[in-house]
Symmetry: C2
Subunit: 294 residues, 2 copies
């Protein structure tokens, strides 16, 4: 919903992304205006179960208090989980308190303390890792867990396997019937789809250690605030260039790269992609309103 | 820049207005997205010398921290005056501190403590008054000071009045020349234009005491969150209706009324104006991007 860096410009907004799974949505960063962008792109707020904030520069969280307030005004009762640097909690509650606002839903605030797994749900895990930026900053890797094998219900029925055993079949077990005959698992199921992974690299200076952290993910988002000629400015401001983002993607052996967080100095973005693709071909620009399938 | 109430909806934004004088601009309230609206409507941020925040409900100030941060990133060095409820100061500095941001310009924070004159400049004064809302809330009246009389330079020169006396002429003094002859002031000047006034009534329940406070201003902005049939809901939420806003305008004998702060329940605004005009004819809708001349 936002692909720009610090100052909103040229109709580009500060960072905000929705990662959508079959069951729920995760909001990653929430710059000013994110709630308007959600309306614009018809994103269902009720589906958002967790919010992840990478760091406390304004272009990554100034829209959060407005979104949380509006969710309350819209009658949300479903709890929400918020993963962010610890200091955000005081900021949010101070703002809610001065407005005498009591939200009709619960916020579970999870301060990020160290690298490692921060969410371990049934179907997905989220790992955070630190990036090198001016202040405390976290990247996130979202990994699907091992998917169940696909059941061929017709064949299972033919072999008279009871439905109560279907879960086991999907986990890969063979079935032994009353006559003691073994029905091999792959006679009634087919292979599960491979679990997918997405790494959100937050704001960062060029840092080759990131390549190992995001190793072989299906999709990597890496910031590219500047074009390659401004690598000195990028380093001075703890940001990266198009070519540096692509180098991390290449070293990490990821499947696909998306670059974003473009500086407001660029009125158009056309120069970014050729520079990045020269190093890592399977690169796309992060464009607002576009859905990237993993 | 914003004519909507709490939740942004139907491309309408939360409250924000620019009051422009010949020399400077005042920003009145600053809902989320105000900095984007400023870009959209080509409002020069460098002209803004003072910001007035009526109260600390999010739809009136969530955009302020982003605007102040961006002003810094854009290299502003000119100081700015901020008039607001006291608690805003802690919120702003907490956010600047966690981001390790040092603004390159000075913010003079003036906590609003009581009704009365809060700005007394050479050409303009600003008076604040309390309104009845769920939390501490302030309205503002901006008054031009007495304008200087208009000098007819040709006639002043004909009477051989030295340029050093022109200021006095504009203040209304007669001139006595070396021969002891008096040149009457109105021989060389014409009457000043009448000082103008604008009252911003903030969020308020219907409150007839407001009529005296905004008496005879040239332009009154009064909130009209709901249409007249929802007067009970308006009262319960400390807001006003179209008809109530018009009644205050009529009672106060103001010249013109603008209504805004429309509820997100209304997809279109067409029903507001006929209701208000029935009580007070010289009424306009507050529409985003429109400039109202006082």
């Amino acid at each position: 919903m936002g692909n720009n860096s610090a100052i909103p410009a040229f109709d580009r907004n500060p960072t905000a992304q929705i990662l959508q799974t079959a069951e729920e949505s995760f909001l990653i960063d929430c710059g000013e205006g994110t709630q308007m962008q959600m309306t614009r792109y018809k994103i269902r707020r009720s589906k958002i179960s967790r919010i992840f904030i990478s760091h406390l520069h304004g272009d990554h969280y100034y829209g959060l208090i407005g979104l949380l307030t509006s969710m309350g005004l819209l009658g949300r009762t479903q709890e929400i989980h918020l993963h962010a640097p610890a200091a955000l909690q005081e900021i949010l509650y101070l703002q809610l308190n001065v407005a005498d606002t009591k939200l009709p839903y619960q916020i579970h605030f999870h301060p990020i303390k160290a690298e490692g797994i921060i969410v371990d749900d049934k179907k997905i895990s989220v790992e955070c890792f630190s990036t090198k930026h001016r202040i405390e900053c976290w990247g996130f890797i979202f990994r699907e867990k091992k998917n169940p094998r696909k059941l061929n219900a017709e064949r299972a029925s033919f072999h008279e396997i009871p439905a109560s055993f279907y879960d086991k079949l999907q986990q890969g077990h063979d079935y032994v019937n009353k006559q003691g005959i073994t029905i091999a698992n792959d006679a009634v199921t087919t292979a599960a789809s491979k679990p997918k992974s997405y790494a959100f690299c937050a704001d960062t200076i060029y840092d080759e250690t990131l390549a190992a952290k995001v190793k072989e993910v299906d999709l990597l988002y890496h910031e590219a605030t500047y074009l390659k000629d401004l690598h000195e400015r990028a380093a001075a401001r703890f940001h990266s260039t198009s070519v540096q983002a692509a180098s991390i993607a290449k070293m990490g052996g990821v499947k696909k790269l998306i670059i974003g967080h473009f500086s407001s100095k660029y009125e158009t973005l056309e120069a970014f992609l050729p520079e990045a693709c020269e190093v890592f071909e399977n690169t796309d620009l992060a464009l607002e309103g576009v859905c990237y399938k993993i």
